[in-house]
Symmetry: C2
Subunit: 136 residues, 2 copies
Amino acid sequence: MLSKKTKYGLKAIVYIARQECNTPVQIATIAESESISLKYLESILLTLRKSGFLGSKRGKGGGYYLLKNAKDIKVSSLMRILEGPIAMVPCVSLNFYEKCDDCPDENACAVHNLMLEVRDSTLHIFNNKSLADLIS
Amino acid sequence: MLSKKTKYGLKAIVYIARQECNTPVQIATIAESESISLKYLESILLTLRKSGFLGSKRGKGGGYYLLKNAKDIKVSSLMRILEGPIAMVPCVSLNFYEKCDDCPDENACAVHNLMLEVRDSTLHIFNNKSLADLIS
DNA sequence: CTATTTCCCTATCGGATTAGTAGGCTAATA
DNA sequence: TATTAGCCTACTAATCCGATAGGGAAATAG
């Protein structure tokens, strides 16, 4: 299940990406428009900024803006920052790999192989979609 | 993230499906072989029985056995019983649909459309895979 | 008939995570 | 100097998950 953090984060960055001329958008504007708790959204945008997706400007007329072209932001990288692993099981994760305690042989594990297939197909979607694709 | 319940449940039913002549398998046997807490596994197998996948036999020589041919048990139906919705977001779920509180227009929601695509590809895998496919 | 085996069922619990809140701080601008 | 708007840390309520406890009931063996 997708966390609200991810859902809110995606909606917010899509909102920001829709601005013309990359004008900074205030947190409060997004929060109101997307019905997201302001303080919670604040922390989400903070992590998106610390991850290098967004820049920020303080004081009057401030807000958040994209640091890169929307075409160059892959959905998969957004998902990894917001949600964490894309795989449903750590033992098939590329970026968050972890061995199972049980399961002596991964290749013989039915769950492993099934989830490997799911991860591939999901990743294929996320890797081939950019923020720009989400806007329209 | 896949819950342990699902992981254990899948491993267990795969174990049961591997038996020759559909001989009943005891909970304890599976628990030991797959390193699963016995009591926890007990409750998982109970739900699989109540959902019509497994039959049970009590007393000596008892245990769990498949009620249908492994070919006729789709992974998607197992997933729905064990894990719940296959979709990452309720608003794109076929069997567990729920409208978002926020989001006035689903078709205009970037997250909705993205997750719709993911659900389709995941479901495609789960629908076209049976328990028999997991065994080998 | 009795003992043993094995599944049946309900209740409970600790720990982790999530979503959200509070509140003060700091930089930029007017 | 006042105001605006993001920065940052800490805290909390609620929920869920994985696991545990413990007795009950049916089937079988002897």
